[in-house]
Assembly symmetry: C2
Homo-oligomer: 331 residues x 2
């Protein structure tokens, strides 16, 4: 009984957004075959995708093969489209959510969904959350680590977090448009490898140092890729909080106390690192994640958890119950 909480969705086609501002930055689909397409952005192939991205039947076959009971599905992060007019982003998101809801409805016992909101307009995002739940049956929102370069912990986003807390939706923090792209030497494929780790760490940190987790203590937030570089930043942040008085005047509690309330997925590709996460945050904060169906995915996300030196009842929490708690779904 494994819930894979980190999987992504791309619809089989996109609406024509050409009449709106943004031009060819809007995603379009270049069909390659019956089962594969290229997502085109700004005239270039952003990503080659297969029917795994949109086809429920194919997803279920893959899940059965890997022993995955349920998938939590969020849109491919670039589809969040924070860089357009917020009303256009909202219209595009509506389309994505409709398609995602259709997929989920084919097997509602096997799929949960998370949506996306136009975070460049936090008030609009806040007002959209009820629709996300009621119209599309989604359980929460995937949020970027930054929105057009503004870190997600910036107080600018507080209206959204306030609504997310009061509506009780789950939030899944995912990197996009990462920092340090000019600081990596090597091929472009390093960006989702190296920069995503840097970016995720910076994003999680901003939720703490920006006061979001202090102001909205009942938020349920899961972080992708095991928190990225966050677990390497945290000990120095805790030490800094102990040493620098101006950090203590910003945060009433140690950064560790906020960090311990976050959920972290298991997508770290390394047994020692996952062990370290369990030791640092406790097994109750860990969720199974794979990044299905993208090339960088962990094809057998249950195995790294199975190999943890933990009692089987604790592994069961990681496999399933922690994700249900994060999602706010009754067991």
């Amino acid at each position: 009984m494994i819930i894979d909480m980190h999987t992504h969705f791309v619809p089989s086609y996109f609406p024509d957004m050409s009449g709106r501002g943004g031009g060819n930055r809007w995603p379009t689909m270049d069909e390659i075959s019956d089962t594969s397409s290229n997502v085109m952005i700004s005239g270039k192939v952003f990503r080659a995708v297969t029917e795994q991205s949109w086809c429920a039947k194919r997803r279920l076959e893959d899940m059965d093969q890997e022993g995955i009971d349920k998938q939590v599905i969020s849109p491919m992060p670039v589809l969040s489209s924070y860089w357009f007019e917020s009303k256009d982003t909202l219209a595009f998101s509506d389309f994505i959510h409709g398609q995602l809801a259709e997929l989920i409805q084919t097997s509602p016992d096997r799929f949960y969904g998370l949506g996306t909101v136009p975070l460049q307009d936090p008030e609009l995002s806040a007002s959209y959350i009820p629709r996300l739940k009621r119209e599309f049956g989604l359980l929460g929102v995937q949020i970027g680590t930054n929105v057009n370069g503004r870190p997600i912990g910036d107080p600018f986003f507080n209206p959204f977090f306030e609504a997310a807390e009061s509506e009780g939706v789950a939030l899944f923090l995912h990197p996009l448009q990462p920092i340090g792209q000019d600081r990596v030497v090597g091929p472009p494929s390093l960006q989702p490898v190296v920069n995503f780790q840097l970016e995720t760490g910076a994003g999680v940190t901003s939720l703490i140092t920006g006061g979001v987790l202090e102001k909205y203590p009942n938020l349920r937030i899961a972080v992708s890729h095991g928190g990225g570089s966050f677990f390497s930043i945290l000990p120095r942040l805790v030490h800094g909080w102990n040493v620098f008085e101006n950090l203590q005047s910003t945060l009433s509690k140690s950064p560790m106390e906020y960090a311990a309330k976050l959920y972290y997925d298991s997508l770290v590709y390394d047994d020692l690192t996952l062990q370290h996460l369990v030791k640092t945050f406790g097994y109750k904060q860990l969720l199974v994640g794979s990044d299905y169906p993208f090339i960088i995915m962990d094809k057998s996300p249950g195995r790294i958890v199975e190999r943890l030196d933990l009692p089987s009842d604790q592994k069961k929490e990681i496999f399933r119950n922690n994700s249900l708690k994060f999602l706010g779904v009754a067991e």
Copy 2:
């Protein structure tokens, strides 16, 4: 018998650089008392420092109190001054090295020194290395994780690394002018806390993905702050190398093989993190580091190593012998 390999030096005064280009970006010293000063850069207090930064007697007292046998001393990183004309940087570095050599000469059995070179000019840096050794008795070079925004793994720096390898000097990688300064929310004191971790990870990664460690396999490089965020990037980098063919065409071996040849200091402020570093890289790659005498320092750097669950002979390697190997000093 502990060697603290991460300590810094600031001279008690600076030469007058006002006649050179760069204006008030050159550091000047604003004396506060007989034992304390402010380092001024661009008209602002860059850092408040005490005689611990320049006074051998005071350093020895502190070392005796903490049971530190020897310090490896490198300049405060901002003194590297990569952002001036390279000949001016060289003249300033000459002054720093002269002062540092004087300090070391008061107790050559207790101090080792590392210098700095004008990395904005790799050929000039290469040609300076022999002087660094012979004229000043220094054992190596502290290098920035980036030089004016250019990652240290950029092939631009290869002439320097080639000379460093052939001259057999030790290199100590330290963050400065870190990435992501616009991505942190909170007081400025977060920069040396959060951004240094991001920056160090990016810098170490660039040494691997830029091919420096492949091209110059005999370099001895130690990384400050336990490598910063590098150990959180590495597993995903290894996975990416397995998955993306264009990474394998760049690097002939797995990133882990290059990472395993680096030294990492113990300055991580967290027992679990240090344990994780030992498990990941092995005890032979670990060195004791404190960041003496700055406010963020680990005041008792021996203790976190003492608490490791390792045999005493392995701790002895960490306390002393690994640093001697890194420095290239006969035991």
